[in-house]
C-alpha cells in the first residue's frame, strides 16, 4: 500500500514537471506558431483557393520549424511583400518565412536567421516585346512588387550600362504579372525562383543576373524566438535537412 502511494506521488511529480517544461517551451502562444508566409508564390508559399490550403517550400519549412520548436500547430498567415513587415510589427505573426530578402537595412529593424535559400534577381519579359537583354530596357517601365528591394539593384545595373528605367509597383505578383501581360509594364524584375512560377511559352527571362538575394526567417527585433530559430536552422544546415528541403521543392 505504501509502495503504491509512493509510486503515485512519483508519477504526479513527473507529470507536473512535464507540464511545466511544456509550458516553458510553448510560452504564451498556446501551442500555435503563427507564421507569415506568401500566398501567391508557387513553390514557396502558395494559397490554393480551391482546397484552401497553403503549400510550398516555405510553408513546409515553417511547419517543420513549429514542430521542432515544440509547437503543436503552425498557423500560416498569408502576407505580401508589403504587409509582411507590418504583420511582424503588429505581432499578428510570430515570424515571417515569406521570401524575405536579408538586407543590411532590414537587419536594423528585424532579426534574421541565417539564409535558407539563395536566389538571384531576374528580369522577365514578354516574347512579343522582342527584348533580348538589359540594354533593350533602357527608358522602359519595369514592374516590381511594392516593398521589394529589386528596383535598387536593377537601377544600379542599368546605371552601369548608362541606362535608366522607371518603376511601377504592384502589391501582389498576380497583379504584377497581369500588368506585364497587357503591356502596362515592359518587364518585371523580382526573384528568379518566383518568376519561374509565372513563366510560360510566351515569356522569357533575360539572361542577366542582377544580385544575389538571400531569404531568411525574420522575427521581431529582440524576440525570444530568434535564438531558438537560429539554433534549429544551424542544426538543419549541419545535418542537411535544409538542403534536402531545397532540392525537394526545386
Amino acid at each position: 500500500m505504501r509502495r503504491q502511494k509512493f509510486r503515485a506521488g512519483l508519477l504526479l511529480c513527473a507529470a507536473v514537471s512535464l507540464a511545466l517544461s511544456g509550458c516553458q517551451a510553448v510560452g504564451a502562444q498556446a501551442g500555435t506558431l503563427r507564421v507569415g508566409v506568401r500566398d501567391s508564390v508557387p513553390g514557396f508559399g502558395y494559397f490554393n483557393p480551391v482546397s484552401e490550403t497553403y503549400s510550398g517550400m516555405e510553408v513546409e519549412l515553417a511547419r517543420n520549424l513549429a514542430a521542432a520548436l515544440g509547437y503543436q500547430n503552425m498557423e500560416p498567415v498569408g502576407v505580401t511583400a508589403q504587409t509582411r513587415e507590418q504583420a511582424l510589427e503588429e505581432g499578428t505573426v510570430d515570424c515571417v518565412v515569406a521570401t524575405f530578402t536579408i538586407t543590411e537595412e532590414r537587419k536594423e529593424n528585424y532579426d534574421f536567421s541565417s539564409p535558407y535559400y539563395t536566389d538571384h534577381l531576374k528580369v522577365m519579359v514578354e516574347n512579343s516585346s522582342l527584348f533580348q537583354n538589359l540594354e533593350d530596357l533602357n527608358g522602359k517601365c519595369i514592374g516590381v512588387t511594392e516593398g521589394s528591394t529589386a528596383h535598387e539593384f536593377l537601377q544600379e545595373a542599368m546605371a552601369k550600362q548608362g541606362g535608366r528605367v522607371t518603376f511601377a509597383g504592384y502589391p501582389t505578383y498576380p497583379e504584377l504579372m497581369q500588368a506585364l501581360e497587357v503591356g502596362d509594364v515592359d518587364a518585371v524584375c523580382t526573384d528568379g525562383s518566383i518568376l519561374k512560377g509565372y513563366l510560360n511559352e510566351e515569356r522569357s527571362l533575360l539572361p542577366d543576373t542582377l544580385a544575389e538575394q538571400q531569404f531568411g526567417i525574420a522575427t521581431k527585433k529582440g524576440s525570444p524566438l530568434t535564438a531558438r530559430i537560429q539554433a534549429t536552422m544551424d542544426a538543419w544546415t549541419a545535418d542537411g535537412t535544409l538542403e534536402e528541403l531545397n532540392t525537394r521543392w526545386k
Partner: protein, 1027 residues
C-alpha cells in the same frame, strides 16, 4: 489413445497452427511484394506511355496552332494585298468593318509603323505603340507576316496577326482564338491525356502541377485545382519520382510518379486492389496446406493408435537415431502421404496463381478496351467537327476571293491570281465563265472546261454556274495525276438578279487537316496504348480480316490468318491465349463498328510470379511436414508392448481380401456398400480408410463452405473483384482455366448437394417402410445418373461446346444410343414396372428362377437379392421373370412324421390333441396351429402323419426344424416309436427242393389261372406315395 499420443497430437496441432500463421504471413508479404513489384514495372510502362503522349501533345498542339494561324495569317495577307492592289484604297473605319464581315474576324485594323491606328473596324482603346506589340511591327521589316501572339485581358484572350501593306502601314487582325483553344483543350489538355490512362483494375493516373502543386487531373472532378500536398500527396513524395505507398484522402495508394515537363504524372493503384486478390489466393493455398498437414497428422495418429492396439508392431520397425527411436514403417507411410500433400499444395498454388493472374488481366484489359472504343467514337465525332471547321475556313478563303475578283475584275490575270494563291495559302485558283470555260487561272491548265460527264469530278460545279447553289465544297480526293490529296471549293460570282454566272474555284492541299485526321486514326489511337508490362493493342478489320494496326508495321494490312489467328479468335469478348509469330499472348477483345480490338499481354509476363510463389509455398510446406513427420516418427522409447487389446467390434463389415499381388487388404463388405447406411464402424477401419473418410469429410465441409460463399458471392466479393469475375460466368466459353475452375466447383458442389439429398432419402426410406425404401432407392439411382448427365451437359456448355445443337441432334443420338443400349433401356423399363406394379419390394422374400432370397435393392438397372447365406445375386431387371413372391401371404411350415405300424394311431392322435397347443406356446413364430393334417401315407415301414403351422415366410424354414424337434421330444415323452431302418440278422435256413409232382402241379395251376383271368382287365396298381 495413450497419453503419449495425446501429447504428441497437441504438439502437432500447435505446430500446424504456427506454420499456418507463419506461412500465411509470409505468403501475404511475398504476394504483396511481388504485386507491388509487378505494379511498379507496369507503372513504369504507363509513365512511359504518358511521357510519349505528353510529347505527342506538344507536336499536336503545335500542329493545331499552326493550322489555325495559317488561316488568319492568310486573311491578314489577303487584306494587305487588297490594300496594296486597289488603287486609291481608303483607310476608313467603314472599309474595315466591311472587311471584318468579309473575313469573319473579331477586329481588323490598319497600323502605321509607330503604332498609330489609321483605321479600325472596332474601336478599342489600345495603345499599340507599347513594347508589348513590338512583335506586330516585325511584319513591316520584310514580306513575312508577324508571328502571332496572345494577350489575355480580363480572362479573354486575343490573338494578333500582322501583315505588311507597305513600309509604313500594316494590317492587323485581332481574333479570339476560342476555336483553337477548344480544340487544344479537347485533344491536348492534360485531362484528355490522363483521363484515357488506365492503371490496373481500379487505379488511375493523376496529374499534379509542378508549379503550384495543384491537381491538374484527378478522376474525381472536385479534386481538380486542389492542392495535392493537402490531400497527402506531398512534394517530397512527388519529387522522389519513386514508387511507394501514400495515403491520399484517406485512401491508401501505391503510386509511381515522374516529372514530365511541368507536370508530375502519377500512377496510383488502391491498396485494396493489390491486396484483394492476394487474400483469396493465400487463403486457398493455406487451405490446401492445412488440409495436407491435417491429413498427415491424422494419418500418423491413426497408424500409431492402431499400432498401439495391435501387437503386430515388431521391434524391427525401429531404428535408433541418437537418443531417439525412429519408426521406419510409420516414417515411410507419412512420407508417402506428405509427398502427395506437397504435390497437391504446389498444384493448388500454381492453379490459383494462374487463375488469378488471368482473371485479373482479363478484367484490367476491359478498361483500356473500353477506353479505346470510347475514344474511337469520340474521334469519329471529332473528325466530323474538324472537317466541318476546316471546310468553313477554306470556304471563307474562296468567298473572300470571289468578293475581291468581283469588285476588282482587273485582278483576273495569271500574275495576280498567283499572288493571291500565295497570300491565301491555296494551291491554284480558277475563274470560270458562265459556260464553264476557264477565264483565268494560275495553274498550267489554262483551257480547262468543266466536264459534261456526270461521272467526272468537275461536273458537280456546273450547279454553281446554273445558280442552284452559292458555293460547293467537294470532299478531298487523291489527285488523278499526282496522287496527292486535293480539295476543290467553288463560290459563285453572281451579282444581283442574273441566273447564270461564272464562279471561282480554289484548289487546296488539305495536309494540315489530314495530319490532324491521321492523329485520330485507329492506329494512332492504339499505338499509344500500353497495357501492363509489355502489353500492347492491335486491331483487326472486320471486312477482310487483316491487321488494321499492329505494333510491328510489317503486319499491318496482312491477313491475320497468316499470323496464327483463327476464326475462333475473331469475335467480341474473346479472352484466351493466341500465339502470334511464335509468341504466346493473352488477349482480350472488344468489337467496334469496323474492327475487332485486342489487348495482348505476353503470357510469360502474366504468370512470371507463379512459380516462385508455388515453390516458396512448397518449401514452407515441406519444412512444416518434415518437422511434423519427424516428431511423429521419432519417439523416446522404442517398441512398447501394449498388451491391452481392444475388444473386437462385432460388425462384419470389414473383410480381408487377397489382392492380385498377394497382399492382404481390408475392404468393406459388398453388402455393406450396397445397403442403406454406408458407414463402417470407425474402429473397424484401417488407418488408410480413416484417412480417406477424413479427406471426404474435410472436402465436404470445404465444399459446403464454398457453396455458401458462392451463394452469397455478392456479399463476400466486390462487384468488380476477381472472384466475382470468376464466379460470375462472364468469361469466354471455351476450354480455358475459368471453365475448368467452374467445372470443378460445380462438380464438387453438385456432388455434395446430391450426397446430402441422397442421405436424406435414405433417412426417409427408413421411415416409410418397404415401398418408401423402394422408391427412395430408385430416386437415389435416378439422382446419381441424372446429376452426372446434367453435369456433363452443363460442363460441355462451359467448355464452348454448342449444347443446343447437341440437344437437337439428340434425336439421332437417341437412336444410336437406343440400339446400343437396348438392354439398358429394357432394364430401366422393367425396373419401373417392378416398382410401380409392386411385383415385389425391398425386403420381400422372392424366388427368381432358382434363386431364393431377400430383395435388397431395386435399382434403375439391376435388382439385388440376398439369399440365406448372405450371398448377393445381382439380376438385370429385364431378367427378373417368373418371380415367386413369398411374402405376400403367410406360409405354412409342414412336417411329416412316421409312426410304427404297431403303435395305436388313436393313442397318438389323443396325445397330439393334448400337446399341440403347448407347442404353439413354445414356438412364437407360429401364427396359427400347429394342425394335425391326418395320415399322409401308409409307408413301407411307417404310418406317416402330417402337422402344419401357419407362419411368416421368413420364419418358415426355421419353424420346420423347430416343429420336428418338438415332435421328437413329444414322441419320446409318450414312448411313441418312430420307425427307422433296422437290420435283423437270421441264421441261414436249408431250403427244401421241389418234388417232381409239385413241379407238374404248379405248371398246371399257372396255366389254369391264366385261362381264368383272360377276360379280366388289367388294373395297374397306383402309387400311394404322394406329397
Amino acid at each position: 489413445m495413450s497419453k503419449r499420443l495425446k501429447n504428441k497430437l497437441k504438439i502437432m496441432v500447435l505446430v500446424e497452427i504456427i506454420s499456418v500463421l507463419l506461412l500465411g504471413g509470409f505468403l501475404l508479404n511475398l504476394q504483396t511484394a511481388l504485386s507491388v513489384r509487378n505494379q511498379e514495372t507496369a507503372n513504369e510502362d504507363i509513365l512511359n506511355q504518358i511521357e510519349g503522349l505528353m510529347q505527342k501533345r506538344e507536336t499536336d498542339a503545335e500542329q493545331i496552332r499552326e493550322s489555325y494561324d495559317e488561316v488568319y495569317i492568310a486573311k491578314a495577307q489577303t487584306a494587305a494585298f487588297m490594300a496594296r492592289k486597289i488603287t486609291g484604297f481608303a483607310y476608313t473605319d467603314t472599309q474595315m468593318r466591311q472587311w471584318q464581315t468579309l473575313f469573319q474576324v473579331d477586329n481588323l485594323l490598319i497600323l502605321d509603323a509607330k503604332g498609330q491606328v489609321l483605321a479600325t473596324a472596332v474601336d478599342q482603346e489600345v495603345d499599340y505603340s507599347i513594347s508589348r506589340y513590338n512583335q506586330l511591327r516585325q511584319a513591316l521589316n520584310g514580306t513575312e507576316p508577324s508571328k502571332p501572339f496572345d494577350i489575355t485581358q480580363d480572362g479573354v484572350a486575343m490573338r494578333y496577326y500582322g501583315a505588311r501593306i507597305d513600309a509604313d502601314k500594316m494590317v492587323v487582325i485581332v481574333q479570339n482564338p476560342q476555336e483553337m483553344d477548344e480544340l487544344l483543350e479537347r485533344s491536348t489538355s492534360v485531362e484528355s491525356i490522363f483521363g484515357k490512362i488506365s492503371v490496373g483494375l481500379s487505379g488511375y493516373a493523376l496529374a499534379v502541377s509542378h508549379t503550384d502543386y495543384a491537381y491538374l487531373y484527378h478522376p474525381d472532378e472536385t479534386m481538380i485545382g486542389r492542392g495535392a500536398p493537402s490531400t497527402g500527396l506531398t512534394a517530397g513524395i512527388l519529387k522522389n519520382q519513386q514508387s511507394g505507398w501514400v495515403t491520399v484522402n484517406g485512401e491508401r495508394l501505391f503510386i509511381s510518379s515522374r516529372l514530365i515537363d511541368d507536370v508530375y504524372a502519377v500512377c496510383a493503384i488502391p491498396q485494396a486492389e493489390i491486396h484483394a486478390s492476394r487474400l483469396t489466393t493465400v487463403i486457398v493455398t493455406l487451405l490446401a496446406f492445412m488440409l495436407a498437414v491435417t491429413l498427415v497428422i491424422a494419418y500418423a495418429m491413426f497408424i500409431q493408435s492402431s499400432h498401439e492396439h495391435s501387437s503386430k508392431d515388431k521391434e524391427t520397425n525401429y531404428r535408433k537415431v541418437g537418443p531417439l527411436y525412429y519408426n521406419r514403417k510409420l516414417g515411410r507411410k507419412i512420407l508417402t502421404v506428405s509427398s502427395m500433400g506437397l504435390i497437391a499444395i504446389i498444384v493448388v498454388s500454381m492453379f490459383m496463381q494462374t487463375l488469378f493472374a488471368l482473371s485479373r488481366q482479363t478484367m484490367s484489359d476491359r478498361h483500356p478496351l473500353e477506353t479505346i472504343l470510347k475514344n474511337n467514337e469520340e474521334n469519329k465525332e471529332e473528325v466530323k467537327v474538324l472537317t466541318e471547321q476546316y471546310n468553313t475556313r477554306y470556304l471563307n478563303k474562296c468567298q473572300v476571293l470571289a468578293e475581291i475578283l468581283k469588285t476588282n475584275p482587273e485582278l483576273q490575270s495569271e500574275e495576280s491570281l498567283a499572288e493571291l494563291s500565295r497570300v491565301l495559302g491555296v494551291e491554284n485558283i480558277w475563274v470560270f465563265d458562265k459556260n464553264g470555260h476557264t477565264v483565268a487561272t494560275d495553274s498550267p491548265f489554262w483551257d480547262f472546261t468543266l466536264s459534261t460527264n456526270p461521272e467526272e469530278q468537275s461536273y458537280e460545279f456546273r450547279s454553281l454556274m446554273k445558280g442552284y447553289v452559292d458555293y460547293l465544297i467537294q470532299d478531298a480526293k487523291e489527285d488523278e495525276v499526282s496522287g496527292e490529296l486535293r480539295q476543290y471549293i467553288g463560290v459563285t460570282m453572281r451579282t444581283g438578279e442574273e441566273h447564270e454566272a461564272g464562279f471561282v474555284e480554289i484548289c487546296i492541299a488539305p495536309e494540315k487537316l489530314q495530319n490532324l485526321l491521321d492523329n485520330m486514326s485507329i492506329g494512332s489511337l492504339l499505338s499509344g496504348v500500353k497495357v501492363g508490362s509489355q502489353g500492347f493493342a492491335f486491331a483487326v478489320r472486320k471486312s477482310d480480316h487483316t491487321f488494321a494496326y499492329y505494333p510491328d508495321e510489317k503486319l499491318i494490312d496482312r491477313s491475320v490468318y497468316d499470323y496464327g489467328l483463327t476464326d475462333f479468335d475473331l469475335h467480341d469478348g474473346f479472352e484466351d491465349f493466341i500465339t502470334i509469330r511464335g509468341t504466346k499472348y493473352y488477349c482480350s477483345s472488344e468489337e467496334s463498328e469496323n474492327y475487332y480490338l485486342y489487348v495482348a499481354i505476353p503470357s510469360s509476363k502474366l504468370t512470371r510470379y507463379r512459380l516462385p510463389i508455388a515453390l516458396v509455398t512448397a518449401a514452407g510446406s515441406f519444412l512444416c511436414l518434415l518437422l511434423i513427420g519427424l516428431i511423429l516418427s521419432l519417439s523416446k522409447e522404442g517398441y512398447q508392448a501394449k498388451p491391452k487389446k481392444m475388444e473386437e467390434a462385432g460388425g462384419n463389415e470389414m473383410v480381408d481380401v487377397v489382392m492380385p499381388d498377394g497382399g492382404l487388404s481390408k475392404t468393406v463388405a459388398a453388402a455393406k456398400r450396397w445397403s442403406g447406411d454406408r458407414g463402417v464402424d470407425w474402429e473397424e477401419k484401417t488407418p488408410e480408410q480413416k484417412l480417406l473418410s477424413l479427406l471426404g469429410w474435410l472436402i465436404s465441409v470445404l465444399a459446403v463452405g464454398m457453396l455458401f460463399v458462392i451463394a452469397y458471392k455478392d456479399y463476400f466479393f466486390e462487384p468488380d473483384s476477381v472472384m466475382h469475375y470468376i464466379l460470375g460466368g462472364e468469361w469466354e466459353r471455351s476450354f480455358n482455366l475459368f471453365a475448368i475452375t467452374n467445372a470443378i466447383i460445380l462438380f464438387v458442389a453438385v456432388n455434395v448437394a446430391s450426397a446430402i439429398v441422397r442421405r436424406l432419402l435414405m433417412f426417409f426410406s427408413k421411415t416409410f417402410g418397404a415401398r418408401g425404401e423402394t422408391v427412395c432407392r430408385l430416386l437415389d439411382n435416378v439422382i446419381k445418373y441424372f446429376t452426372i448427365l446434367a453435369l456433363l451437359y452443363y460442363c460441355l456448355g462451359m467448355f464452348g461446346v454448342d449444347t443446343k445443337t447437341l440437344l437437337a441432334s439428340a434425336g439421332i443420338m437417341s437412336v444410336i444410343i437406343g440400339l446400343g443400349s437396348q438392354a439398358l433401356i429394357s432394364d430401366i423399363l422393367a425396373g419401373l414396372f417392378i416398382v410401380f406394379e409392386g411385383e415385389f419390394r425391398v425386403g420381400d422374400i422372392v424366388t427368381i428362377g432358382d434363386w431364393r432370397g431377400t430383395v435388397m435393392e431395386i435399382g434403375v438397372r439391376t435388382t439385388k437379392i440376398k439369399d440365406a447365406s448372405n450371398n448377393i445375386k445381382i439380376i438385370s431387371n429385364s431378367s427378373v421373370t417368373g418371380v415367386i413372391n413369398m411374402t405376400k401371404q403367410f406360409s405354412f411350415a409342414s412336417c411329416d412324421v412316421g409312426i410304427e405300424y404297431g403303435e395305436s394311431l388313436e393313442r397318438v392322435e389323443s396325445v397330439l390333441r393334448e400337446e399341440l397347443p403347448h407347442v404353439k406356446e413354445r414356438l412364437p413364430a407360429i401364427v396359427e396351429g400347429p394342425f394335425y393334417k391326418g395320415v399322409v401315407a401308409l409307408g413301407d415301414s411307417s404310418v406317416d402323419i402330417r402337422l402344419v403351422a401357419k407362419c411368416a415366410e421368413g420364419d418358415r424354414v426355421q419353424l420346420i426344424r423347430d416343429l420336428n424337434r418338438e415332435i421328437k421330444l413329444l414322441f419320446d415323452k409318450y414312448d411313441i416309436g418312430i420307425p427307422f431302418p433296422q437290420v435283423v440278422v437270421n441264421q441261414p435256413v436249408e431250403f427244401a427242393k421241389a418234388t417232381m409232382l409239385q413241379k407238374l402241379q404248379s405248371e398246371a395251376f399257372v396255366t389254369e389261372q391264366k385261362e381264368k383271368v383272360k377276360d379280366l382287365g388289367e388294373t395297374v396298381k397306383s402309387s400311394t406315395e404322394e406329397n
